[in-house]
Amino acid sequence: MPSADEVKTRIEAAIPGAQAEVNTADEVHFSALVRASAFDGLSRVQQHRLVYDAFDGELGGSIHALALKTEVL
């Protein structure tokens, strides 16, 4: 099971310059606030896709849920 720190590292590695705050109570359900300049000009759906891409198929698996909020940095 991934820790909040691992999820944060994954997101920040996948999106250059991103800053992620990740919380989890049970290491299965996560919530994240991700700020990145790379989100500029993208729709919310496109912003969230960038974050989801960091998890290649793990969402719904070892990461049961990721509540996500994105902001342009």
Binding site: R44, V45, H48, Y52, L59, A65, L66, K69
Partner: protein
């Protein structure tokens, strides 16, 4: 139905319905809290919407996600475009953007904060070998 036929049926449903929600369970009986919340927001805005339950066949979810490039359920489409999942819909509901995008007037009694949605009953496992062995 082949996987391709399922994908075609999904694409047709998205094209034919102005507002369509892919969810776990039905609007009357959602099987997941995120689906329940999304239904509650659409109902608070009194928006008519079509709904598809992804649970009866795992291939529905698989083909939908392949088509939409979106990994999670629920997924709300408007005018053929993916608007988002539960998080995005919640943000848009609370900012008033959802009503705007859907072209509806939020009713006077619609809550400003996203409604929590119906209580989700724990799923009763279908009768199967596990139950018989229990």
């Amino acid at each position: 139905m082949s996987d391709n036929e399922i994908r075609d049926a999904i694409a047709t449903a998205i094209a034919d319905n102005e507002v369509i929600l892919f969810m776990k369970g039905s609007p009357a009986s959602p099987a997941c809290g995120f689906s329940a919340r999304t239904v509650a927001m659409l109902e608070a805005l009194e928006t008519p919407f079509a709904a598809v339950d992804v649970l009866p066949d795992p291939r529905i979810r698989q083909e939908l996600s392949a088509l939409s490039k979106w990994p999670t359920i629920p997924q709300l489409f408007h005018g053929g475009e993916l608007i988002g999942g539960c998080d995005i819909i919640t943000e848009m509901y609370e900012s008033g953007e959802l009503a705007q995008v859907l072209g509806v007037e939020a009713p006077g009694d619609a809550p400003a904060e996203a409604p929590a949605g119906a209580e989700v009953e724990p799923q009763v496992a279908p009768l199967g070998i596990e139950n018989r062995l229990a």
